[in-house]
Structures are given as C-alpha cells and as structure tokens.
C-alpha cells in the first residue's frame, strides 16, 4: 500500500476550543459572567476570591471552580459563604482544560449564578494555551514575585483582559517598585485593565467590585 500526504490546517487544541465554545454558549444562555484567574502559585488567588465572595455576599450570586494538582484545601478555604465551590483535582495536570470545566459545571446550578469564578492551577505557562470558555481572563501578580514577572511570562500576561496586582499591603516591606511594575505590565499586557489590591486590608477592592458590578450587567 502506497503512502499519501494529507494537507490539514487544524488547531492542535481544536477539541479544547470546541468544548470552550460550548461552555461559553452555556454561560451566555444563563447570563453568567465567567472569570478565569491565572497566576503563579502563591500569588493570592484564593485569598482574593475569598474576600470577594464575603464582601459581595447577598449582592451577587457566585459559584467557584477551583483547580489544583492535589488536595481540596483551596475548596475548603473558599467555602466561606453559601456560594457553591467545586474542586477539580487534576492529579498532576498543570492547567485546567475546557472539558474539565464542562464536567465541573454539571455539578453547579449555573442558571442560579451571576458570576462563575474559575481559579486555575497556579502556573504561568500552561494555562495560557487553554480557552475555558471564560468571558474575562484575569492574570494576578503579587508584589512579592518581582516586578519583572510579566516580562518573564509575557505570553500569559498578553492573553489576559485584566491584571490584578495583589498583596499591596506589604508592597513597601518587600520593596515593590510600583512604577517599574506598571511599565512592565504596559509592555506585556498593554490592553489589559489593571487593579492594585490587597485582599487583607481591603485596599483597592472597591474599584474591583465596581468594575465587576458593571461587567456582570453586560452579560445579562
């Protein structure tokens, strides 16, 4: 049998992209705003989400899907309000994929939510490639990580619609240079909205909440 050549031009993550499109369609149908939060491990994703859940409890209906390689520690931390939390334990996978979100969403009453927060696995490389069907991708940068993080991982920062700087309450103690960080973010993520926050002190959180309130209206 002779060999033959087949020309194809297909995205390698075609299957993921199809599943992401189906997720997006589901979120649209129910008027749910989906956020995909990416960052390095330990940048304060969980703490930031916990604060947001507490402060906006009773005003907006949240659901959370949280991904980690192992343990359900984050899910337990996130169960501070009546908001439903689903843990995905990836078993070593370094990112979440759209199919995992589809399965996790089956366990949530999506129709009863205003906002679905997806806390991705802490990793600044792999999650960049995977569309989960989110409306907004949020990259976080904590003041302890170094102002040049966005320059070291430009692909993921460029893919974000919003960048949130976290742990601003300890910025001075760790010698965080806000001007340098802003300049670096302007290069890595020129189109992204920026927030500077502290989930511990609450500084900057009001600006974030105002934006969130306005953004959720656009998907209703």
């Amino acid at each position: 049998m002779s060999s033959r050549l087949i020309e194809v031009t297909e995205a390698l993550l075609e299957k993921n992209d199809e599943r992401a499109a189906a997720n997006r369609e589901l979120f649209r149908r129910h008027g749910v705003l989906a956020l995909n939060i990416v960052s390095s491990p330990g940048s304060g994703k969980t703490e930031f989400i916990v604060r947001t859940l507490k402060d906006l409890h009773g005003e907006l209906r949240f659901g959370v899907i949280v991904g980690d390689c192992e343990t359900d520690n984050d899910a337990r931390r996130l169960r501070v309000t009546s908001a439903p939390v689903t843990q995905i334990t990836t078993g070593g996978y370094c990112h979440l994929e759209a199919g995992m979100i589809a399965r996790a969403a089956e366990g949530l009453d999506v129709a009863a939510l205003d906002i679905l927060i997806i806390e991705n696995v802490g990793n600044l490389v792999c999650p960049a490639s995977y569309d989960l069907g989110e409306d907004v991708r949020i990259a976080m940068l904590s003041v302890t990580e170094g102002e040049d993080k966005p320059l070291k991982y430009p692909v993921i920062f460029r893919s974000a619609n919003v960048v949130i700087v976290t742990k601003m309450d300890i910025a001075e103690a760790v010698g965080y240079d806000a001007d340098t960080a802003r300049a670096n973010l302007a290069k890595a993520a020129p189109a992204a909205l920026r927030f500077e926050t502290s989930a511990r002190s609450g500084a900057g959180m009001d600006v974030w909440y105002d934006w969130l309130r306005a953004r959720v209206q656009t998907v209703r």
Binding site: E10, E14, S129, K187
Partner: protein, 113 residues
C-alpha cells in the same frame, strides 16, 4: 509541561483524519509551532514518543516547522521579527503589541498509508 496533553489532542485529530481517509497507519505528522505559542518543540518531540505507543502513529516521524514571531510597526508601516512578543521596532524603536504571526499551534500535514 502541557505538551503531553497537547500531543494527545493532536494525535486524536490526526487519527480522525487518517481514518476518514481509510488509512491504517500514520507515517509522518507535521506540526506548525509559533515561537510565541508557549509550547516547547523539544517537549513536544518527547511527548510524541510517549503518546503514540500502541496507536496508528506508533513509530511515526514528527516534523515541527517553527514559525518565527512577526510584529507590525504602524509608524514604519513594516513588519519585523522580534525575539519575543515584547516587541520593539528595530528601525524606530517603537513598542508594538501587534503580533501578526508566531502564536500558531497547528497540525499541518499527515503522511498515511
């Protein structure tokens, strides 16, 4: 390291194409990978060997065509090739966020029998 799951996905697509053509085996698989895709070609090569075992593509050759990053300078009305996506025009020095190529992650061809 997400190259294994990317290769699994690529293999799934490749096998579907090959079956549709009535092929029994995949001999060669071509990928197009941009330098700003966030994917490491060496890691893809490694993953390919691991995920193709026992499939239609067992023993197949992987060929990766790398796509250099191309950015656009609006001031000079010209394309340039920066080393990463933090692109500054070599002629006028202006920063550009307009990346025209280099993010590709595609299956480009298959040789089957």
């Amino acid at each position: 390291m997400h190259e294994v799951s990317i290769m699994e996905s690529a293999l799934e697509s490749a096998e579907a194409h090959a079956r549709k053509q009535g092929a029994a085996r995949i001999l060669r698989m071509g990928l197009r990978i941009g330098d700003a895709s966030g994917v490491v070609p060496d890691a893809l090569e490694f993953a390919f060997g691991a995920v193709t075992d026992g499939t239609m593509a067992e023993g197949a050759t992987l060929e990766i065509e790398r796509v250099p990053i191309a950015a656009w300078c609006a001031a000079c009305n010209a394309e340039f090739a920066p080393p990463d996506i933090l692109a500054c025009c070599p002629t006028c020095g202006a920063f550009s966020a307009d990346i025209r190529r280099g993010r590709e992650m595609q299956l480009s061809f298959l040789e089957v029998e």
